[in-house]
């Protein structure tokens, strides 16, 4: 089986702050990392490779420095890597990105499984993975935490409210991955990183994947971002203690004081 894993380079949002005056992100000195959900998708693919001998291709789209996440995929065990990098892609929203990634997957030939993170931590849209499935015309199973292969069946454990579903599907199929609680991200050793330089790595432009310019970049993006702003700060929570009776009394006092209820 051939698995294509879509990964994205994102700013480490734990380090990002918003400039309160301009409402823009302060990116200076903020490190770039692999999107954590994609990291898990990648590890899932490598694990399937270890058990079933699948071929794994890691794909990303971004500026030249996004090579980093592709190389990390190669270092962790992917067989080959592709970076979609072209000014024509700049400014693409989730629709245009899905289109480009789907074109790249098609160019790879027959990918039996496409894996992607549930969402990227910079935009939190959770649209790109499903978008790729739609563009490829293949089924999708979202919010998965485990994938197994049993002959021709692919079995996914999909998280739902209050539990999980076990879904059996046939290839080709796309899964988006969440991160299970016990997941420990693995990082490559120095030797694996060094060895990854010898693995096949390709940079594809829009024309390499046969993408039409009208569907790419800002022009091909139906989404328009009007404004980015931090959500208004919530008031400080007040905790009460004591017995239930005492706590209720205290809460009622506060509500009276704040005029939520009549005196």
């Amino acid at each position: 089986m051939h698995i294509a894993v879509c990964v994205k380079q994102v700013p480490d949002t734990t380090e990002v702050k918003i400039n309160p005056e301009t409402g823009t992100l302060i990116r200076t000195g903020v490190p770039s990392i692999i999107n954590p959900y994609d990291h898990f998708a990648l590890q899932t693919a490598i694990e399937l490779k270890r058990i079933h001998g699948c071929r794994v291709t890691v794909i990303s789209m971004g500026p030249p420095q996004a090579k980093s996440v592709v190389q990390m995929g190669l270092a962790l065990g992917a067989d080959d890597g592709v970076l979609l990098s072209d000014m024509a892609f700049a400014g693409s929203d989730t629709w245009a990105t899905s289109y480009a990634l789907a074109r790249a997957v098609k160019k790879l030939g027959k990918a039996d499984i496409v894996l992607a993170g549930m969402q990227a931590i910079d935009g939190d849209t959770a649209q790109t993975g499903p978008g790729v499935a739609q563009q490829l015309g293949i089924p999708q199973v979202t919010f998965c935490e485990k994938i197994d292969i049993d002959g021709k069946k692919i079995i996914a454990r999909k998280l739902i409210d209050g539990g999980y579903e076990v879904v059996e599907v046939k290839a080709p199929v796309l899964f988006t991955m969440i991160m299970p609680k016990d997941y420990v991200p693995r990082y490559p050793s120095f030797l694996e990183t060094h060895a990854s330089l010898k693995k096949p790595y390709y940079v594809w432009s829009a024309s390499d994947i046969g993408a039409e310019a009208q569907y790419l970049g800002l022009k091909g993006s139906p989404t328009q971002v009007a404004r980015i702003y931090p959500p208004p700060q919530r008031g400080k929570a007040l905790m009460t203690n004591g017995s239930a009776q005492e706590a209720v009394e205290k809460i009622l006092d506060i509500m009276r004081k704040e005029h939520f209820i009549a005196e």
């Binding site: 380090e15 200076t28 990390m72 420990v184 050793s189 120095f190 990183t193 330089l197």
Partner: protein
């Protein structure tokens, strides 16, 4: 070896940081520090090529390594020092122990031993120091006697004691300096060789996660193939050949540990409210305890990077430069950590906050790989020769370069750096005319002034670049302000201390007072407070409270 591509280097740095975040927590470090315990399991992972394999940086690709260059090693050393300087020292000891092989080993020796170090994850120790041979290695007492069979040399018997050897009690392989009949040599000694035994683990002031022990060698038989280079008398040359970059590694330690302390203080200062506002908004606090250290550490960074790039570009030696880098970064790191304790107030004085441990740790960088005083002398010696050879033009020419840079870019402190360099040239010349270098104190002080002038020069040049290196976490506005602050400080200190030093030795300093151009140096101080204000704001933005 040239440095590797930035993406590979940063992936390795990320792996190291991720490992540390998970396994080397503050609580873990504190526990081991208090117990004076070597974290064997962490170092095992560090050397395990399937987990981390940090030691592979020093090993060429053909022997199973990843062939790191000086720039790569500087970056890794800085990150290790941010994590824990004891663990960093343990890794460094293997780097250092591998060096004599890299520099002086025969091809067969490199193939055999470097491959073993790479594949068997061997921890190495560098055993040079003895009770009476620290900075003065010529005083070596460990002896290597010939062992002959049928008149043919088959090996050596090593007898003596080594002291303060990092990894001394835990290494698998030791490179041991001993005096053979033909002069000092490096020998490869394996831990289980008969007659070899490590002594007790030292109870140290800092770097307590690093194992340090003496070694006893009692008639240890070493086959002749274990003599590095297979020729006697090369030991000291082999040791000195690598001082340029081994000292750069310790410079990176001073930089990393110093910055870790400053970063912690900056984050804390945003949370600590006193008299109605956070400490980070009080000039009396930031401009004394934070900003000067951030500036000096960044000046050191600029210098370390320049020397690393020159070494990676194929230049050899650079011993004076290595000494300047190590001397500056370690002294600045030490002072930064000292003030970080002050910046935390009473909290800083407790074991609950990491800055006091950093302070204890970073002090070692002023001692090992050449004490600050030995380095002051080394720096003075190197540059004094240049001053004499060029008839005083050495620093005057660099000052001209700074003036030209200032004409092109007035924002990087090049003018003040030029004043610093000219003042230094004047002080050096006065020392020559009045024969003041007969006073040892003058030579040491000159070493310090030379270091400041060269850092100001390199910082101004680096701040003028269009693109900064990957390690610079500030925008050009901040880094240029830092370069200006440093150049002003250097000019003022060199002019005033240089003059005072000369006046302390002679009845009259001739026209030195005019030659150091104190009026211009004072005039160049204009804008200092505004620049420090700017740096304080940028530091707060870069290292936000967590």
């Amino acid at each position: 070896m040239p440095s590797m591509d930035p993406i590979s280097r940063n992936l390795m740095l990320d792996s190291l940081k991720a490992y540390a975040k998970k396994h080397i927590t503050n609580d873990f470090i504190r526990e081991k520090d208090q117990a004076n315990e070597f974290p064997a399991e962490i170092l095992k992972d560090m050397y395990d090529h399937s987990i981390m394999g940090v030691h592979l940086l020093m090993i060429p690709e053909e022997y199973g390594g990843v062939a790191g260059g000086t720039y790569d090693i500087y970056r890794i050393c800085e990150v290790l020092a941010h994590i824990d300087l004891g663990i960093a020292t343990s890794v460094f000891a293997t780097f250092l122990g591998t060096d004599p092989l890299n520099v002086g080993g025969t091809l067969d020796q490199k193939k055999k031993w470097l491959e073993r170090i790479a594949k068997e994850n061997l921890m190495v120790a560098y055993a040079a120091t003895e009770a009476d041979a620290g900075s003065d290695l010529l005083n070596l007492r460990t002896r290597a006697e010939h062992v002959l069979k049928n008149g043919q040399l088959t090996g050596y018997r090593l007898t003596g004691n080594k002291q303060w050897i990092s990894n001394g009690g835990v290494a698998d392989l030791y490179t041991v300096l001993a005096m053979a009949p033909g002069g000092p040599c490096w020998f490869l000694v394996e831990k289980d060789m008969e007659g070899f035994s490590p002594n007790k683990h030292e109870d140290k002031h800092g770097i307590r996660l690093s194992n340090t022990a003496g070694l006893s060698l009692d008639n240890v038989y070493v086959p002749k193939e274990n003599l590095i280079g297979e020729a006697e008398g090369q030991g000291l040359l082999q040791a000195q050949a690598v001082f340029g970059y081994t000292r750069l590694m310790v410079a990176a330690f001073g930089l990393g540990a110093g910055w870790e302390a400053v970063e912690q203080a900056i984050r804390y200062s945003q949370q600590r409210i006193q008299a109605g506002s956070p400490l980070c908004d009080k000039q009396g606090y930031t401009h004394k305890l934070i900003v000067p250290h951030a500036v000096r550490l960044e000046a050191s960074r600029a210098y370390i990077e320049e020397i690393a790039c020159r070494l990676d570009g194929g230049e050899h030696g650079l011993q004076t430069e290595g000494a300047i880098a190590k001397y500056s970064a370690s002294e600045y790191g030490n002072r930064a950590a000292e003030d970080a304790i002050q910046a935390f107030g009473g909290y800083g004085y407790t074991h609950d906050f990491p800055v006091e441990k950093i302070k204890r740790d970073v002090k070692i960088t002023c001692i090992y790989e050449g004490t600050s005083e030995v380095l002051e002398m080394t720096i003075y010696r190197g540059r004094w020769q240049e001053h004499l050879k060029t008839r005083g033009r050495y620093y005057a020419d660099i000052a001209d370069e700074m003036d030209a840079l200032h004409a092109k870019n007035p924002d990087v402190g090049a003018q003040a750096a030029g004043l610093a360099l000219r003042a230094l040239a004047a002080v050096l010349e006065e020392c020559r005319l009045a024969k003041l270098t007969r006073h040892q104190t003058v030579t040491f002080k000159l070493g310090r002034l030379i270091s400041m002038a060269e850092l100001a020069y390199v910082f101004a040049r680096s701040a003028a670049k269009e693109k900064y290196s990957e390690s610079v976490r500030f925008d050009s506005q901040a880094w240029q302000a830092m370069a200006r602050v440093y150049a002003r400080e250097a000019a003022l200190l060199i002019a005033s201390e240089g003059l005072a030093m000369v006046l302390g030795c002679v009845d009259s300093a001739g026209n030195l007072s005019a030659a150091v151009n104190m009026d211009a140096v004072q005039a160049a101080q204009k804008g200092m407070t505004a620049d420090m204000d700017l740096v304080a704001v940028k530091l707060k933005q870069t290292f936000k409270a967590r």
